[in-house]
Amino acid sequence: MNALGEAARKANVLVCVGPGGVGKTTVAAALALRSALEGQGALVCTIDPAKRLANALGLEALGNAETLIDAGHLAKAGLSPKAPMRAMMLDMKRTWDELIEKRAQGEARQAILGNRFYQSLSTALAGSQEYIAMEKLCELRLQRDYPLIVLDTPPTAHALDFLDAPNRILDFLDQDAMKWVLTPALKAGKAGLKLFNLGGGFLTKQISKFIGTQTMEELAGFMVHMSGLYESFRERARQTRTLLEAPTTRFVLVTGPMPERTSEAARFLELLKEHRLHVAAVVVNRVHQAPDDKLLAQAEALGEPLKTKVLTTLREQTQLAAQDAKGVAWLKAHCGAVPIVEVPRFDLDVHDLQSLATTGRWLWGDPSRSGPAPH
């Protein structure tokens, strides 16, 4: 077993992070499956509506609730997990709504849920997807007792969005700033939030040049209602922070071997370290494997046109592998002491249970047992 396997056994939360398009969701699912097979019950929480992953797990689709993967379905693929595996897909909008419903009461609840700014906060505001993923993680950790939760994260344009998400929401609710802007409004009472007509200061006049007086009033109204939730958001941000920094929470940085991905991954790793988060491993997914050198000599013995075709194929595959090896070597030079785990590229997209199980074995450094051949 490798360092990632060890870490997965000791951890109760694994957070898969990294650039988009590298197979993060697959790695997250494979880690959960592997843990279940080894006797540690696991829940994988994905962000992608990965229909084929759902199908591979014997489900029509993944929903916002944790769903037990049917043992009979796993048995058909020759897999007999020693502990249950569960899967779910995070529904952003619904999780936000649940959050507000839980925290806000009566009039404020209705006012928030019906506000136009809430709609864009819960669906479009930068960082809000990242925030809600953390929120869900916290809820699952604190309210359920899964031995292991594997969280897949949104493909971030900027790594910081993810780590900063709780702070950004707090910023949004920042009471100091709020007091400044809202004091006239609060004095005027909720009936008329005409704060910028109340002699409106220089500043508010200038701001409303950009966004219009009415927009400012509406936004202020929204903030008044949201500000009541500040304390509970701050408490949650603190819990999230504690959870992310806990020694039982490990980050798995998933990347591909291509130069643009490896450099993004290295930047991401720096950030994780700056934030003093525990990184279990860097997973380099879908690494091309070079064909054996002896094959070239074997191919020379073939007759034409087959000989040229096979030689071309071997040369292409060697070159792909060489490029990927360069990427992996670069990562090794830039990741310090963090273990690097390579997962080979398989013939096909990983979308059936057996490939998922094989990926899991590679992730744990135990690729010996039979499975689809890597290439």
Binding site: R116, Q119, S120, L121, A126, F172, I207, E316, D347, D349
Partner: protein, 304 residues
């Protein structure tokens, strides 16, 4: 194939992360500038992607000449916001008073999508720029847009603003921006994909979402890194005596089959489709982009 991008002023290149958007954008910009058109290549908050592929220094905040007929710029939200602020407030001192105030900054940051709107505004402003002669300053603007989810957010900003914000300065800006984006005679989204399941799904979904959410119709699809078929069944069979060779050949055919399947699925979009074979070059730099440009030529140039 008709040269669907020939007379479009704005080409927006998007797709799933890691499919080669920057490469396609850089190649399209090379083609356009090479055909004598004043061309602007735009990066969105990624100064070193397309520039590195073209083996050029990182693009700056201001439009700069980087080759014959070729200008480039890197759009950053802070910079765009500043320019927008100055445009409306007119005076540097006034701008500083407002934008360097903590409370004001706080407030502005949470006006939904204001940062993206100013970014988009700056981009679309370049479409309207003219030379003293009255001609357009840029005949062709190629944008290396963010990946799918972020691109949709980015492009739907005018829509979101129009739905969120009451009439006023902000809504007016959003309104002219939307008009430019949905104008299919000037603006052409190009989707880039890879011959793999997830990117293809995402491409199909993106095409639908662009139409339904922002009323934009993609005008071409590029299937990148496709693997051409090479062995027939009899040839594979004849390698039975050398299982390792047969295995290599079989892997090639599996990839080729995936590529063919991907092309078939993309064909359902009924858009001009360019299939670019996977390149086997030691380094992925300018030579690769030029080779890619060769494949994309039919989209941009009318046959003589």
């Amino acid at each position: 194939m008709s040269a669907v991008l020939f007379d479009k002023q704005l080409i927006i290149v998007t797709g799933k992360g890691g499919v080669g958007k920057s490469s396609v954008a850089a190649a399209l910009a090379l083609l356009a500038s090479g055909s004598g058109k004043r061309t602007l290549l735009v990066e969105v908050n990624a100064p070193d992607r397309a520039s590195a592929l073209l083996e050029l220094p990182p693009f700056g905040d201001d439009v700069g000449l980087v080759g014959p007929n070729l200008w480039a710029v890197n759009l950053r939200p802070e910079q765009a916001m500043r320019e927008y602020g100055l445009m409306i407030l007119k005076f540097e001192r006034l701008y500083q008073a407002v934008f360097e105030n903590r409370v004001a900054r706080h407030f502005m940051r949470f006006v939904p999508s204001l940062a993206e709107l100013t970014l988009l505004g700056k981009l679309l402003f370049h479409m309207k720029e003219t030379l003293p002669s009255g001609e357009r300053r840029f005949e062709k603007i190629v944008v290396d847009a963010p990946a799918t989810g972020h691109a949709l957010t980015f492009l739907s900003v005018p829509e979101v603003i129009l739905n969120t914000v009451p009439p006023g300065a902000l809504a007016d800006s959003a309104s002219w921006m939307r008009a430019l984006l949905v104008d299919a005679t000037r603006t052409a989204p190009v989707l880039v994909s890879l011959p793999e399941d997830m990117p293809i799904n995402e491409t199909l979904e993106l095409a639908t979402a662009l139409k339904s959410r922002v009323s934009m119709r993609p005008q071409a699809v590029v299937l990148n890194a496709a693997v051409p078929a090479r062995f027939d069944a009899a040839e594979l069979q004849s390698l039975a005596h050398a299982p390792a060779l047969q295995d290599s050949a079989r892997v090639h055919q599996v990839w080729a089959a995936q590529s063919a399947d991907a092309a078939k699925r993309l064909a359902a979009l009924e858009l001009p489709l360019i299939t670019v074979p996977r390149l086997h070059l030691p380094n992925y730099g300018r030579a690769a982009i030029e080779s890619l440009a060769g494949h994309l030529r039919p989209l941009v140039e009318r046959p003589r």
